[in-house]
Amino acid sequence: MKTDRAATVKERAKIALNDEFLRNAVKLTTERLRGGRLAAAEQQGNWEQWRERGMQIRMHTIAHLDYYLNEFAENARKQGVHVHFAETGAQAVEIALKIALSKQAQTVVKSKSMVSEEIHMNEALQKNGIESIETDLGEYIIQLAGEMPSHIIIPAIHKNRRQIAELLSEDAGETLAPDTAVLAGYVRRKLREKFLQADIGMTGCNFAIAETGSIVLFENEGNARMVSTVPKTQITLMGMERIIPTWEDLEVMATLLPRSATGQRLTVYMSGITGPRRSDDGDGPDEMHIIILDNGRSLQLGDPEFQDLLNCIRCGACLNACPVYRHIGGHSYGSTYSGPIGAVLKPALNKNVLEWDDVANASSLCGACYEACPVKIPLHDMLVYLRRRKNEAGAGESAEKWQMKGFKLVMANNRRLRAILKAGRWGQRPLVKDGAIAARIGPLKGWTAHRHFPALASPSFRERWPSIQRELQAEVERAGEVGRSVRERLQRYRNAPQERREGGDRV
């Protein structure tokens, strides 16, 4: 997918929409993962109570992040870990490079880390003559292709078997059949050598446990275990919000994360790494570094609209639930993080008005992301906040501004509205066929290019309302006794949402 050069979400999406394979692949994958999540949640039972607990733990942790981060750093240090703090991506890269150079490292093997993608670690290592190898099968493939991940869980979602076979054949120097077992077998053999000869293993961090200074990695392939077991030096890149207070809290995260990501009860491997190897252990790293990264995260703290963004556990459920992501794929978002979480995270981390203008509009605000989110982050609300801030910053489109002004002018006066509707009905005549408009003209084009636009009704609902109201009144009177009970029931329904708002849906 050659979307790198397109400047806007709209342009990138247009390219993606014309890629038949991509659309099918993304649809198939997101449906498989989404179906898996729903089935796993159903099987686990009481899913809402788990979500609620997940949200509570994450909110509690973020609200006390200074305390828990301190506790984590102190305890990790007691285990013999070198703990580093980086305010920016560039600082984190610099720290990692310094370690690599001091070890005279030639090869770094890496397991999946979104932070590493975020700060472009591979490029920095390679620029300094250090071979940097992604070892997750999907990440290895997109590294060979020189691309960004297009899905947080399945990074090479956009590549088909034939393309993958070509990439791997070139890497192998021999022709490999486009067969999954052959291709995966090649990567296993090739990377096995690399694991054994690498000087440094670099990992991400799914969770960091404050009470013991441990990091926790979730994965299915075993490459994160390799990276944290075989090389002599381990570097772990960690977003500063990855903290949870205790191991018992990990049970909740372990219940939510794999089920939300792929529908598994647990990933094949969940590893808790606490410091470098003990002196009499035979394997595990001799030296362990943890680099804790801010890079715009702290900007969300104390912001009532965006603090919950730091609750995210990076499961990708919102991508799989999103009707927009399903059509345009991950690369259209133009950043490391894609889908609804990416649409909020990218502008929020960068505090960049121009980018708010862009990705925050790539959403239908349907709220499917919120319903899928295992820690109940209101992403659809955040997208609205971003749009509002964009407007407040004066970055709104002037055409939109004039449209809104016109809308206000018309809607504020019923005579004006009636006159406009009348004129519209008259004006649309040449365009209407069978009650719908198909012509691709003017501002209608965006809609009518793909579907028909309903014609203005005659008479309109507003014009019919007086007679509808009379009919309803007559019906109620005819019904007499029955009518009273209907009224009472209606009254009860009307009160219901109020009760729910006051705490009925809390568990």
Binding site: H60, E221, R265, L266, V268, Y269, D283, G284
Partner: protein, 232 residues
Amino acid sequence: MNQQSFIANITKRLGRPMPEQPPEHPYRGAPPFWREQTLARGADRDQIIAQFIEYWQDAGGDAHHFASLSEVRSYIVQTAAELKAKRLIRHRHPLLDQMSLEELEAELPGADMTVWDGERPQEMKNRAADADIGLIVADYAVGATGTIVTMSSTGQGRSVSLLPTAVMAIVPTSRMRASLGEVMSDISAFGIERIPAGIHFISGPSRSADIENDLTIGVHGPGIVHALLYDG
């Protein structure tokens, strides 16, 4: 940037002084209903074991329940013969020590068994990488997720459950727990003094679906995993 100013920035953004006491954490761990369920389920050991076996097999592993250690031994030897295993490596663990697995020559001609020794790191890693079968004893197993847990120590290298082509884990049923939370409580109780460096929760064979959603087994870790339950 140093820790102090990094944390101070967070405190400032949160708009209150840094807490001096540990914050009250009323939401620690699983929701209350789950703890009750776990307690209730804990009473029915057979059901937990059945659940473990079902989920382990579901993930693509083999699981068998044996009445005695000698049956476990026969199964290991038989499977090693079927896999034509030549090089085996095992944890140094009392259960495995007493199975006299070093005298395999008669049963598996040409087979060689290495016992993990933390004092010889490089040699051990190489041997594990070359091994056909790794033998471990699980420190815990969990019914609710179909998981075994192995913890690193001088006799228990992490490589043994990771580098060989196949892994066989002996699971004493006394180590079986209903839910993950029970294992987490124990780890929490180790505290920073006694916690092992590597704690690994394993729930089946290594897998990936990264190529066109097509499931592949044994991508980096072992593709063959046997759980050998034994009532001891």
